[in-house]
Amino acid sequence: MTAVHHAGEAGTPPTDVNDPHLTRFDIVKEGLRRDDIEIVTYESQFHGQNSKAEKRVVRNISLLFAIAGLLTLAFLVFYIIWPWQFELGHTMSDYYTPILGITLGLGLLALGFGILAWAKKLLPHELSIQQRHGDPSSDEDRLITGQTMMYVADELGVQRRPLLKGAIALGLAPVGLAAAAPLVGGLIEDPHKGDLPMMYTTGFNPEHNGGKPVRLTREDGSPIRPEDVSTGGQMTVFPGIPHGATNHWADSPTLLIHLRADDAAETRKNADADKNGRNRGSMWGNYVAYSKICTHAGCPASLYEQQTNRLLCPCHQSQFLITDNAQPVFGPATRRLPMLPLTVDEEGFFVAASDFKDTVGPDFWERP
């Protein structure tokens, strides 16, 4: 194979490509010359054609392609015949995805490495140098282009015609605004609209229940009696209104906790000593209910530690002390969890005496 160490420099004379004596490689080189490329090294990786080493490489590459073909064929076969429908337990179908991945993955890897080996081991070694020509445009060209642009402006003559200037501003600005209006106008929702602004009310607001206090219910809508929650237990409760447990009332989930007597006494003491009085009298017996929606980022802060009386939020690790008005004691939360005023109706089920007296959920700019 050709080994070329040619000392071509920019400015070597052009070759006549129509010369019938030229080899194809000579023509390629002429093309390279025109692109300012010089091949410095171009030599076969093997000694002599059809050398043993070359044959071995060719064999290996062919083998890789064959493996690729076999594995992707296997992929097809398994794709069709392997049981794939989900079954509980440890079954054949659990291996469907792994088998697809292994056959296709290894097949593609074999194909990729076959091509790579071809490029790397079989093609001649090459070292080419191309000139960059990264020079900026000539000063003249810059001048011409710049002047042309200025001339375009002159042609329009906006500078000379101030009336036009004003007309453009007046006429076109509304067009731009009109283009944006449907998008902005369509998306905008007033977060504070209505008598029950969404940021400040939850499903426990009696307004959602025809003015009657809202019951606390389980996720299936069944009401809760005090004895349903054991001492040291907690229950996620929802407002007992239609769809109360769905995401429509995403800020309403509440944690109902039955404290041990001594903890309850402490909680009551702290709730009654509450500075702004919001939590005063909100407990019922040894029961207390806090909003489950973290005041930091809105995750359900529901990791209730019944010995330490802490509530932990799993998203950013804010920790709230249940016995002290759910005051944040660790992590990024700044505000305590709102307490839901509890009482029991005549049938003996828990109801919310009123809505939360504090804003539920993450903080925002205009929260009072």
């Binding site: 337990g89 659990d94 792994p98 996620t236 990791l303 330490t308």
Partner: protein
């Protein structure tokens, strides 16, 4: 004290040998005879100590009496006499029920080796029978929740809806601490919710009933026995026994954190090696 002396004696033998490796404990027959002398000494010792509670609680069943003698050697130092509790060392066991014993002793959390943030799961020190005996004793001391007899995992052929119901209850009540995949999770200051991949149905049931350590109590009024069984069915069939359909390895089902590690350790490493090979001179 007459009729139950042999039983107590045997129990004493058990407890004396408690420190030995559990393997040895199983080869009991010969060993009992070999250290009969010790047992006798124990009997004598018992005779001389004020045997107040044996006489007080004549109604203790045989199993409970065996449990009591285990209790008196292994638990009394922290939980006090008759499970009354010792200030700053161990809580009272009156009313905790056998479910609590089932969980705490059955998973090796009790006896504790030292006071720490949370009792660690260890190799159980008592075998199943002994745990039952201890449980019986604690039950008879002051009552409390008990794990019911009968299967705790539903047959989903007969009750197919149990699995989905269990999953739903699991996500409402359990995942916040134990995680969607049941792998457990961290709590404040070094405490943690353990993985659910190992415990038996009995232990899970007992844990829900008794609320061990920082786990909230899920009494039968909150989660009915049926609902508890559904949760256990979900844990056992879906989280413990089901092979993940999405791959040979489930990366611990921790979600994005282990997936992020995998993409760098496997994906990027493999491909950087490949690019090293591609660009390396051959």
């Amino acid at each position: 004290m007459t009729s139950d002396t042999p039983a107590r004696r045997r129990a004493r033998v058990f407890s004396r040998r408690r420190g030995a490796p559990s393997r040895a404990r199983r080869r009991l027959g010969a060993a009992v005879r070999m250290i009969a002398a010790l047992a006798l000494a124990g009997g004598v010792y018992t005779a001389f100590t004020p045997g107040a509670f044996a006489e007080d609680n004549v109604q203790l069943s045989a199993a409970a009496l065996e449990g009591k003698s285990l209790y008196d050697t292994s638990c009394i130092s922290c939980h006090g006499r008759d499970g009354q509790g010792v200030e700053d060392r161990g809580p009272s066991l009156i009313g905790v029920g056998s479910a609590s014993v089932e969980f705490q002793v059955g998973t090796g959390r009790m006896p504790m080796t030292r006071q720490e943030a949370q009792a660690e799961e260890k190799k159980p020190q008592f075998n199943e029978d002994q745990t039952k005996q201890l449980g019986q004793y604690v039950q008879e001391l002051g009552g409390g929740p008990q794990v019911p007899d009968g299967p705790l995992v539903d047959d989903i052929e007969a009750k197919p809806e149990s699995l989905a119901r269990g999953g739903e209850l699991f996500r409402i009540n359990c995942t916040s601490c134990h995680g969607f995949g049941g792998g457990g999770g961290a709590l404040s200051s070094g405490k943690f919710a353990p993985s659910l991949h190992d415990p038996t149905p009995d232990q899970i049931y007992a844990a829900m009933l008794s609320g061990p350590q920082n786990m909230p109590v899920f009494g039968d009024n909150q989660l009915s026995p049926d609902e508890k069984r559904s949760i256990i069915t979900y844990i056992q069939l879906q989280l413990q026994e089901d092979k993940d359909p999405g791959g040979l390895f489930n990366l611990g089902r921790y979600g994005p954190s282990t997936e992020g590690v995998a993409i760098f350790l496997v994906g990027i490493v493999l491909l950087v090696f490949t690019s090293l090979w591609i660009a390396g001179k051959s």
